[in-house]
């Protein structure tokens, strides 16, 4: 069991603050929305950081997972499944789908893996444009589905759900990194042949973070679609999700512990601060993405790491509160 550090205390107090945030009437309602979107991107980019940064699998099929989970939820509510069961079912479907495609895409490595996963959301988009499992000819297909029977679930409930998932994703992320699994993944990333010859079951070891990432991404995606209230294929299985996840991870710092958190914060800030300017927002995001990647491959945290006060701050945060 790890010791309680100042970092843990800081994180826990932030989470407690965020939990009570929607209950404080002095805080504007829009803040709830900001933090909600932040939690959604945080969970996704945290998992992507694990998959791509630490396991070396450049997965570009995250929209497939969140879309499948969202569709499971939406179609479930049409046949009378309650929304919470739809959430769990969505995560399970995303996980199963991840296992299925893993058999195909894990045969590829490096940039080929990226290609192999890039087309998966495209296939699913076409499938869901054509497929109308429930409802008449007016719904489904390209028009998408409403999510029914969620009148009791307001912004506060989805907010708390997203917050819980974000916390879970951070805990999973840190637990994996400090475990044998994390060590094995680092070994595979650095040299798969060497890792395999040391007796590591590379397929199974890569499968764990991939499936966990798919399930968390699916779960938080389904929560996002409860908030949105409807789902349609074109914007769901869209490369813009991949871009958002990539942006927030790379801006914060790939392969760093807090990168996803910082990156998601910056991304959401940019997203809302420049929402009025439409295209300029995305343009500036593109410029930031390229600039940060070329200046500092480890993102903003990599830049911070050059300053000594940040390093001493990190050391201080790692110090245990009690005992030695």
């Amino acid at each position: 069991m790890t010791k309680l550090t100042y970092e843990h205390i800081a994180l826990i107090s932030i989470v407690v603050l965020l939990v009570v945030l929607p209950l404080v009437t002095a805080v504007p309602q829009s803040w709830t929305l900001y933090v909600f979107i932040f939690c959604v991107y945080l969970s996704m980019s945290c998992m992507w950081n694990l998959i791509a940064g630490y396991a070396g699998l450049i997965s570009l099929c995250q929209p497939a997972f969140l879309g499948l989970a969202g569709y499971t939820l939406a179609l479930g509510t049409w046949i009378g499944v309650p929304w919470w069961a739809g959430l769990v079912g969505g995560a399970v479907v995303a996980g199963i789908f991840a296992v299925l495609i893993a058999f195909a895409v894990f045969r590829l490595s490096g940039v080929y893996f990226a290609i192999g996963t890039l087309v998966v959301p495209e296939v699913l988009r076409s499938l869901f444009i054509l497929w109308r499992p429930v409802g008449g000819s007016m719904t489904g297909g390209g028009a998408g589905y409403m999510i029914k029977n969620i009148s009791g679930v307001g912004i506060n409930e989805t907010y708390w759900l997203a917050l819980v998932i974000a916390v879970i994703s951070i805990i999973i992320f840190r637990a994996v990194l400090s475990s044998n699994l994390g060590l094995g993944l680092a070994a595979i990333r650095d040299n798969q042949q060497a890792a395999a010859s040391c007796g590591i079951n590379t397929f199974r070891l890569k499968l764990y973070p991939f499936v966990i990432g798919a399930m968390i991404t699916g779960l938080v995606g389904a929560v996002y679609y409860i908030h949105q209230g409807f789902i349609e294929p074109t914007r769901t299985f869209n490369v813009s999700w991949t871009m958002a996840i990539l942006l927030s991870t790379v801006i914060g710092g790939m392969r760093t512990k807090g990168g996803a958190m910082l990156g998601a914060m910056v991304y959401v800030f940019l997203y809302f601060a420049m929402a009025r300017y439409g295209g300029y927002s995305l343009l500036i995001q593109g410029v930031i993405l390229i600039t940060i990647l070329l200046i500092s491959p480890r993102g903003l945290l990599g830049i911070f790491n050059k300053f000594s006060f940040y390093r001493s701050f990190v050391l201080f945060m790692d110090r245990p509160v009690l005992g030695k």
Binding site: L108, E122, S126, I129, Y280, G286
Partner: protein, 275 residues
């Protein structure tokens, strides 16, 4: 039934031209150029701007857009991608994402997000074969694509630069040992890919094109090409014939079972064994 097939084949020529540029970059640099579709659209809009402001025919405007785009390609490779390639495997991909974002939105800001077609003297013309009518521009696209691809084939076989590009794509280390400066070859390959993008863009002009189609063009063309080797443009042609209706990506699902797609996948696993 005959008419859509012929139109598909004719339009496929244009796609093959775009796919050739994509395939060239992938073959030489082992990098997925996600921004390729957006670069094609950039070429297309440059031609459009020249037509709207100066009355230049899209084909004439190639004189300006080809050097402009190949210069841009050279710049992108030299100052962004080359540095990114030193960072990590995934960095060029992320850079390409960024370029796609920038281009797509810059075009949308400068123009507006509606699709537009160009009206030249020949854009409404049609010709008839027996009972069927076909637009002339489709035939022009097809012929232009064939000509450009034939020229590229000759270029790759006969000139030093072309042979160096083919060599670098087949075996980078061996090419280096033969005294080829592969870094310069990468820049040249990217610039050449941009030439084909500019030409394809100019011919795309006669078809109404929205600004955000770049990714889907990339996606369609990506699936057209056999990315094993650049320098085999005819292969790209055989996989062409996509149109950008929404249902198309399903095809990759079926292509997996087709022999040429199987080659693609067996190549993937082959490369995996090599590394």
């Amino acid at each position: 039934m005959i008419s859509p097939i012929v139109m598909g084949i004719l339009l496929g020529g244009l796609y093959a031209l775009i796919a050739m540029g994509l395939s060239m970059v992938f073959g030489v640099m082992r990098m997925i150029n996600l921004a390729h579709g957006d670069l094609v659209i950039l070429g297309s809009y440059l031609s459009f701007a020249l037509l709207a402001n100066f009355g230049l025919d899209p084909i004439v405007s190639l004189v300006i857009t080809v050097p402009l785009l190949s210069g841009l390609g050279f710049f992108i490779q030299r100052f962004l991608l080359r540095r990114a390639a030193d960072i990590s495997d995934e960095a060029p991909l992320i850079i390409a994402f960024g370029i796609a974002l920038i281009l797509q939105n810059a075009i949308q800001i400068v123009t507006d997000p509606q699709s537009r077609g160009i009206s030249t003297a020949y854009s409404m013309a049609s010709f008839s074969v027996g009972p069927f009518q076909f637009p002339v521009i489709y035939l022009m696209n097809f012929v232009a694509a064939l000509v450009v691809m034939a020229l590229f084939s000759i270029f790759l076989k006969k000139t030093y630069l072309g042979r160096a590009i083919a060599a670098a794509s087949q075996n980078k280390k061996a090419a280096q040992l033969m005294g080829i400066n592969t870094k310069n070859i990468h820049s040249a390959a990217f610039a050449i890919a941009m030439i084909s993008a500019a030409i394809a863009g100019a011919f795309l002009d006669d078809i109404p094109v929205p600004t955000n189609i770049g990714y889907s063009i990339f996606d369609n063309c990506f699936r057209c090409g056999d990315h094993r080797r650049s320098g085999q443009p005819v292969r790209d042609l055989s996989g062409g014939g996509d149109t950008w209706s929404g249902a198309d990506p399903v095809r990759i699902f079926f292509r997996i079972r087709r022999p040429d797609a199987f080659r693609l996948f067996s190549h993937f696993s082959g490369a995996y064994r090599e590394t």
